[in-house]
């Protein structure tokens, strides 16, 4: 029977020749992930169930990235609970301040995910690794705890939307603009329970960072996962990260899709998702002046090296607008170091930006850049829900690093083409 790439990976992980959309399967896991918010709940569940077993001490990742460096006493207690558990169980991949990065930037960078893997994480943006030709999806803490103990998870096999990318994006149009464009078209539940599988000659024009950004936001369309096939660029990425040899899956030519979307990348314009839903996407001809108070460049969506390189190109030799607070948060220690070596921090600090250690921080309204009532922020993160970055009366506008940097200079939401 013909299958999508996602369905092939799922079939391979439940020992079946083939699976079909709607099937319920018990799948074997390659990697199980949780963070400092979801791991404590998972560990409490695990203990309450009287569990002792860890399916594989090398294939559990516990990443202390959300409220770290510990923002308050409660956060410190949560991390301590996880740290003690990791020590007790001999969990190899426990990442704490000094080593930690935002989980979905960190795991690919460390070669912990490869093509064909099946990964679950107690974090909704676990779908990011679809960019590497893997199946990965977000689950809750109980799923994670069971996964950690038994190495298995129940999954409903998803149907898929085929997204065929054509052409080459123009300068300043990035993965973020592409995924915002798609979510603007299909809506925040446009891919509910489904896979978003990408193909077409446009894929070759996208960097790995672009693909990671696009799969990262699959969840913002309600999807179960995103998927890019493995190509030369992916193999190069695996080599650099020291990942295992990938298993390469591609959709059958006659695979069944719920719908097919064709996107001409050369026609996509920089865009912005207005409050309070990622689907409220507008291009610059659709709105006027919107003054801002803060800019954040970082997160698992856009906190990678190419994101800071793009921002630096725009900020170089200039000053951010008076009254705008600009935060640069490289997603991992490696990205931090690479950005420093490239001299990007000189550019940022001279322009009047603050540079932080890796953390999720303001992305979820945790710490490091919380908004007051009525304040507006242009952010390269992935969610602009009510109260996401602070006060319920504040506003988050989602955009690419280039738009965010241009906005920092202008003091209002601005296009990189207008500079």
């Amino acid at each position: 029977m013909s299958m999508t790439a996602t369905q092939k990976i799922l079939a391979a992980h439940c020992g079946k020749e083939s699976v079909a959309a709607g099937d319920m399967i018990m799948a074997d896991l390659d990697l199980v992930l949780a963070n400092d918010i979801t791991a404590p709940v998972a560990i409490n569940e695990y203990r309450r169930a009287g569990c002792e077993n860890i399916f594989d001490r090398e294939r559990v990742a516990l990443v202390m990235d959300h409220f770290t460096p510990n923002k308050d006493i409660k956060a410190a207690e949560q991390c301590k609970l996880v740290r003690d558990f990791a020590n007790e169980k001999g969990i190899v991949n426990f990442f704490d301040t000094g080593e930690v990065g935002v989980e979905h930037a960190l795991l690919p960078e460390r070669g912990m995910v490869t093509g064909g893997d099946l990964v679950i994480g107690a974090d909704s943006h676990t779908c990011t690794y679809g960019a590497l030709g893997a199946f990965s999806t977000g689950v809750g803490s109980t799923d994670m705890a069971v996964g950690m103990a038994y190495g298995r998870a129940w999954l409903r096999v998803p149907s898929a939307i085929s997204i065929v990318l054509k052409g080459k994006p123009k300068k300043w149009v990035s993965g973020k603009d592409i995924i915002l464009h798609i979510i603007g078209k299909i809506g925040v539940d446009g891919a509910l329970y489904k896979s978003m599988e990408y193909s077409g000659d446009g894929v070759g024009h996208l960097s790995m960072d672009d693909r990671l950004t696009i799969c990262n936001m699959a969840i913002e369309a309600g999807a179960k996962n995103g998927f890019f096939p493995v190509d030369e660029k992916t193999l190069e990425f695996f080599k650099e990260a020291g990942a295992k040899e990938p298993k390469i899956y591609e959709a059958d030519e006659d695979a069944l899709y719920d719908s097919v979307m064709e996107i001409d990348l050369s026609k996509i314009e920089p865009c912005v998702a207005f409050p309070h839903l990622p689907e409220n996407v507008k291009t610059f001809d659709e709105f006027g002046d919107i003054e801002i108070d803060q800019v954040v460049i970082g997160s698992c969506t856009n906190g990678r090296l190419s994101d800071f390189v793009a921002a630096a190109e725009i900020l170089k030799g200039k000053k951010v607008a008076k009254g705008v607070r600009v935060l640069m948060i490289p997603a991992t220690q490696k990205i931090w170091k690479d950005a420093m070596k490239l001299g990007l921090f000189d550019i940022f600090v001279d322009a009047g930006c603050a540079v932080s250690a890796p953390t999720c921080g303001p992305c979820l309204g945790g710490h490091m850049g919380i908004l007051a009532d009525g304040e507006r922020c242009v952010s390269t993160t992935n969610r602009n829900f009510v109260g996401r970055m602070g006060h319920p009366g504040s506003e988050v506008y989602l955009a690419s690093p280039a738009v965010a940097a241009a906005s920092a200079l202008a003091g209002k939401i601005a296009s990189p083409y207008d500079l």
Partner: protein, 158 residues
Amino acid sequence: MVLKGKVIKYGDNVDTDVIIPARYLNTSDPKELASHCMEDLDKDFSKKVNPGDFIVAGSNFGSGSSREHAPIAIKYSGIACVIAKSFARIFYRNSINTGLPIIETDAEFDEGDELEVDLSQGKITNLTKGETADFPPFPEALQKIIDAGGLFKAMKDM
């Protein structure tokens, strides 16, 4: 199991950030989470909810983050069951795994309607309006998890 209570109604895309804002996620204490449930969307929620009430919502309920704190906060606030046109998938999993009853239906209800819900028969009776609606059962594999009293217990037989 038969549940009886009043409807508290919200719209589409009720996300996990308004169900339980991230600023309260530095704890996993269910009672503390429940005390902040829905507060960014409806600051009177904790005052108006009575044990056994239903949240009724539109499509894509529980969208956003994977925080299991969301169904936990709802459950410990006293809500007996969430009824929505559709659920975001991680919220759906988390509800099954943590034992918060959820129902997917297109039936319409109004704020304050008194409902009687028979989970095993798949029947909702609107006592205020004198109407009934049926909803489909869960897939068998999920019903097993529910019947076992959660995923950990169910795993022992899988």
